[in-house]
């Protein structure tokens, strides 16, 4: 009985170890990162909340503006060691450079510029498939809010 069982057990164990190794390799070496930048206009002149921003409603609440309107969504796939520029309303641009992927967190170098003038340079680590909010620049009588999300691919 032991001999009959030994081979299936051995094969099953090897299959499990192989599957685990393959999954680990696939998980730890993403080829690129997909970055989505949502540009939002936050204001206080009305109580309008854009239904397109429903998924961000809870995250925008701490800002305590009265109105939120989606201005633009842009998604780009960026390879590691690459960079992409996102056009932001108001003549601004956001340059994103993926830095690293570790512990299911993605490191991003972010630069927001207005024309040639840099507004902010920051390096952040966000959860895979998570986001960070960057806001403040004045725009059309309100404030520009950017939701920057990233997902490894």
């Amino acid at each position: 009985m032991w001999k009959k069982l030994r081979n299936p057990v051995l094969l099953f164990s090897l299959a499990l170890v192989s599957a685990a190794s393959w999954l680990h390799a696939a998980d730890s070496a993403p080829q690129s990162v997909q970055v989505t930048v949502r540009s939002i206009l936050a204001g206080s002149k009305s109580d309008e909340f854009d239904p397109k921003l429903k998924s961000l409603e809870q995250q925008l609440k701490p800002l305590k503006h009265r109105s939120y309107r989606a201005l633009k969504d842009e998604t780009q796939t960026i390879s590691w060691q690459g960079s992409k520029v996102f056009e932001i309303p108001g003549g601004r641009s956001l340059t994103i450079v993926p830095q690293e992927f570790q512990n299911d967190r993605i490191g991003l170098k972010i630069r927001l510029t207005q024309g040639d003038k840099p507004l902010i340079d920051t390096t952040v680590k966000i959860a895979n498939k998570g986001n960070i909010i960057l806001g403040g620049p004045a725009h059309e009588g309100g404030s520009l809010v950017l939701s920057i999300s990233a997902a490894s691919q």
Partner: protein, 176 residues
């Protein structure tokens, strides 16, 4: 040792049916043709009959009811939980079952690793860590909101020249 002596040594086993067919037939033929061996057979059968009667008589006097009652009690008796646990643990250590503990241990390990990666309850922390920040002389606020697990970087633009609407920006800026 002559043939009769050999046959007489085998008569007991022959009567008990313990001999092979060929040997049994040889003994039967000899006993039927040899008066001395036939007499030996009769003596042996008589002794066996007497012993049988004696045992039957003795057995009828024995009280078997308490014996069977005790057997039934032992069968129906509920054993303590720890004895059942020990027996279960021992059954796990039988080699064929033990062999499956290897892949089982691997699966448990993989499960634990998955749990570590995907927190129980599906609530993945969205907190972002800010490693460095340079606002080129502007003020900045960093907010971490517990309820939504969101990290917010709020940039205060210099009202001189950069703001498109200075008054509104100042009013609506650092609301949190």
């Amino acid at each position: 040792m002559n043939q009769c002596e050999t046959i007489r040594e085998s008569i007991g086993r022959w009567l008990d049916g313990e001999l092979q067919t060929a040997d049994s037939e040889a003994v039967r033929r000899h006993v039927e043709g040899c008066p001395d061996c036939a007499a030996a057979r009769q003596r042996l059968e008589k002794i066996q009959g007497m012993l049988g009667n004696l045992l039957t008589a003795e057995a009828s006097q024995l009280e078997f009811a308490p014996f069977w009652r005790e057997v039934r009690r032992r069968i129906e008796e509920k054993r303590p939980w720890y004895e059942e646990l020990i027996e279960w643990a021992q059954s796990l250590l039988i080699a064929p079952r033990l062999a499956w503990t290897v892949p089982a241990a691997i699966m448990v390990l993989l499960g634990l690793l998955s749990l570590a990666k995907w927190p129980v309850g599906g609530q993945v922390s969205n907190y972002a860590s800010v490693e460095s920040i340079d606002t080129h002389g502007r003020n900045v606020a960093l907010l971490r909101e517990d309820k939504t697990k969101t990290t917010i970087i709020w940039l205060y633009q210099d009202p001189e020249g950069e703001s498109e609407n200075v008054e509104e920006a100042t009013k609506s800026g650092p609301a949190f």
